[in-house]
């Protein structure tokens, strides 16, 4: 004990050599396969069955869309090929699918409107962009006016008026969804606040509106807008044929939006309301500066998924004679000039891809937002 040299020093002055990682942390491919694909005999059978199924489906898809498809040529080549997609058909109809019958010389106006919209949406959704509230202001208040002026036209600004009968294709689909989101969010917020109001009459009106709209199919709402709105108003006020489904879509999605916003309002701790009231802040200021900013941030994923639903529901406006993107595909595919064996499948495949890219992109954004929010709450 007295001899100190027998004991090692308490502080090691040199670095210890790194140890090899314990085995099993990074498994070899063979271990991974055994663990994830062939852990039990049943699992092995499943693996084989599902691999065959997946490979077959993938092969069907690739050979139809790529390998056996007609890439160049015209109607004759497509008619001669019963196995693959007919892409020249899409190429020829591409402008029709995008603009409908919008006059050729004025299509730059559609492009400009869509470009402005795209810039604003990216600005609004990009998490690290500066001045996002300015983007919100522009998107929700200035943009609808600009879009209306550009798309419909104002004669005094040297923009000829284009009748809405000529509008069609992807333009209509995007217009419907943008109008839906721009109007449904504010109305939805009001309805959600109304539903949580302490005034019984306000609450009752909001509950009835929300529950009735959510209880009926969108098609019936469209029918109502189309057949009954002209009966509700004097003849000189009859809404335009495109305006009727737009009103329907705005009202329909605001009921769903209201439920999403309500979930956000309920998630805000009561202390926030009480603190604001204790400071003497009035109801509307409290909502505008304290509650809604927090509540709306929480429900961004919900808002996005409602928007995805809205985007998919715009396909139904075809029932009241509006030529949206899907309707344009339907019209294009029955064109007698292109009566080939795979025209229908090609049209549906293309439409499916377009819708899928939009919806999948949005759902990915919503998922990343969800992860971000979850992280924020944990830390």
């Amino acid at each position: 004990m007295s001899d100190q040299s027998l004991h090692p020093p308490l502080v090691n002055s040199s670095l210890l050599p790194p140890m090899a990682p314990p085995c099993g942390i990074r498994p070899s491919p063979a271990t991974w396969i055994r663990k994830n694909l062939f852990s039990t005999p049943f699992s092995g059978v499943l693996t084989i069955c599902f691999t065959v199924l997946a490979a077959w489906l993938l092969h069907q898809f690739v050979s139809f869309a790529v390998l056996d498809a007609v890439w160049a040529g015209g109607q004759e080549e497509c008619r001669a090929n019963p196995d693959g997609a007919c892409w020249p058909f899409i190429v020829e109809k591409f402008d029709y699918l995008r603009y409908g019958a919008y006059p050729l010389s004025e299509r730059w106006r559609v492009d400009l409107t869509l470009a402005i919209g795209a810039v604003l949406i990216v600005w609004l959704l990009w998490k690290r962009a500066p001045r996002r509230n300015l983007a919100a202001l522009l998107f929700f208040i200035v943009y609808p006016v600009v879009a209306f002026v550009l798309l419909r036209g104002v004669a005094s600004l040297n923009l000829p008026v284009i009748d809405t009968v000529l509008w069609g294709g992807l333009l209509i689909t995007l217009l419907m969804s943008v109008v839906g989101i721009v109007f449904s969010l504010p109305i939805g917020v009001l309805l959600a606040l109304g539903r949580r109001s302490e005034l019984p009459l306000v609450r009752a009106v909001c509950v009835i509106f929300i529950e009735v709209v959510r209880g009926v199919p969108f098609i019936t709402v469209l029918f109502m807008a189309n057949f009954m709105m002209p009966l509700f108003v004097p003849d000189y006020l009859t809404p335009d044929r495109l305006l009727r489904p737009l009103i329907a879509i705005a009202l329909f999605s605001s009921a769903y939006m209201a439920e999403v916003v309500r979930a956000g309002l309920q998630a805000i701790p009561k202390g926030q309301y009480e603190a604001a009231k204790a400071l003497g802040v009035s109801y509307f200021t409290m909502m505008r500066l304290i509650i809604l900013p927090q509540a709306l941030t929480i429900v961004i994923p919900g808002i996005v998924s409602t928007f995805i639903g809205l985007f998919k529901d715009t396909t139904l406006v075809a029932i009241v004679g509006i030529a949206d993107f899907l309707r344009a595909v339907e019209t294009a595919r029955v064109d007698p000039n292109w009566a080939g064996p795979t025209i229908s499948s090609t049209g549906y495949l293309f439409a499916g891809l377009v819708y899928w890219i939009f919806c999948f992109g949005m759902s990915r954004y919503s998922q990343s937002m969800e992860r971000e929010l979850a992280r924020g709450h944990k830390s």
Binding site: F223, F227, M228, L316, G352
Partner: protein, 395 residues
């Protein structure tokens, strides 16, 4: 009223600074404006309808409809009334919705559980299914199934022949018709008796288990009774059944039951689409059950199957049921997309053909909306009752 209040602001009496007073004023304003709007619309609608010669009453209900419906579950012909056409629509909507709910639930649970499978490829295939299907509009899927798959089948003369006298062509799936003879009623009676016996046995087994802790083989006894008893009676009375085989006559098949492509496309489309949402609900529901529950069940010596059946699933169901209800409602509402492919559901028959023939837009839409609202109400009530049975019993 507000003038008086402004003229005499006092702390004791009614004041605009009192939140209650302001509340009453807001509500009065709302009530007055809503009432004015409603009255305005009602007056305007009535005058518009008179001006256009649209009937204001429900008198059309008992008039002859004069159009035919190719798929009905209840008696209907061209001489029937609009009222009967309405009921055909309601029954068809309910029929396709109920079948769709059953199929979507089965498919959705299978896919949802497959997504949680430890097997990598199984979970990836299930995940791809969900991500592809739910991001494509239902209408596009319906049109695809109808126009690109079912309508692209060969014509009746070149039908695909399946074993058992089943034919598949672009007019649908034709299966042999079952014809019953005398004595078939006894089989039905036997089935009824078996059902009653099963109910009695089940409650007896429950009481026995509560008393002694021993489990009786309930499932096997029920299966044996439900299948065995009717089968024995069926053989005893000498198989009173025959099949009418469909035959090609002219351009179409005669005899046999026909499953129309409109119905099939709607059913497939609705089930496949809704299943992708149900799969996500099932997955998150099962994932929400804490892992400790599985471990505790294993520690108590429960077999894996029983762990799933008695511990995990009851707890997951509690989370799954509310969103599942709204998916069922969505499916029912989405069945109105039938109008695009020509399946005669409520919207296609009533809000479509009947509305066009009679012009009575307000009455027809009011009835249609009420039917959907009633379905929503009944379904949420049924699911709430079911939900209460599964709710946690807290001490």
């Amino acid at each position: 009223m507000s003038d008086v209040l402004l003229a005499a602001p006092s702390r004791r009496s009614l004041s605009l600074h009192d939140a209650k007073v302001r509340g009453i004023i807001y509500q009065l304003l709302l009530a007055v404006s809503l009432l004015a709007l409603a009255v305005g619309i009602a007056v305007q609608t009535a005058s518009n309808m008179r001006a256009r010669g649209i009937p204001l009453s429900f008198g059309f209900w008992n008039e002859a409809a004069g159009f035919d419906i190719n798929q009905t579950l209840i008696p209907y012909d061209t001489l029937s009334t609009y009222g009967q056409a309405f009921w055909v629509g309601v029954v068809n909507t309910l029929y396709v919705s109920l079948l769709g709910i059953v199929l979507a639930t089965v498919l959705g649970f299978v896919v949802g559980i497959a997504r949680l499978s430890p097997n990598w490829i199984v979970s990836k295939v299930a995940a791809s299914y969900v991500e592809i299907i739910r991001n494509i509009p239902l209408l596009l899927q319906l049109l695809f199934w109808y126009n690109a798959v079912l309508k692209a089948l060969p014509a009746p003369r070149a039908s695909i022949e399946l074993p058992g006298g089943i034919y598949l062509n672009n007019r649908g799936l034709i299966i042999p018709e079952i014809q019953l003879y005398e004595g078939a009623g006894t089989v039905e009676l036997a089935f009824l008796a078996a059902t009653i016996f099963c109910g009695a046995f089940w409650s007896y087994a429950r009481r026995a288990q509560n008393r002694t802790g021993k489990q009786l083989p309930v499932l096997w006894v029920i299966l044996a009774a439900l299948i065995g008893l009717p089968l024995i009676v069926f053989l005893l009375v000498g198989s009173p059944v025959s099949f009418v085989m469909p035959e090609l006559k002219g351009f179409n098949y005669r005899g046999g039951h026909q499953l129309y492509p409109e119905f099939a496309a709607l059913l497939i489309g609705l089930s496949v689409y809704t299943a992708s949402f149900i799969a996500e609900i099932v997955r998150s529901g099962i994932q929400a059950v804490p892992k400790g529950q599985t471990e505790a069940a294993h520690a108590l010596g429960l077999a894996p199957g029983k762990t799933l059946r008695l511990v995990i699933v009851p707890q997951a169901l509690r989370i799954i049921i509310p969103p599942l209800t709204s998916q069922y409602l969505n499916l029912t509402k989405n069945s109105s997309l039938a109008v695009f492919i020509g399946y005669p559901d409520l919207v296609q028959i009533f809000a479509g053909t009947v509305l066009n023939q009679t012009g009575a837009a307000v009455q027809v839409m009011a009835i249609t909306l009420s039917v959907y609202l009633a379905i929503s109400l009944v379904m949420s009530m049924a699911m709430n009752t079911f939900n209460q049975r599964f709710a946690i019993v807290e001490r």
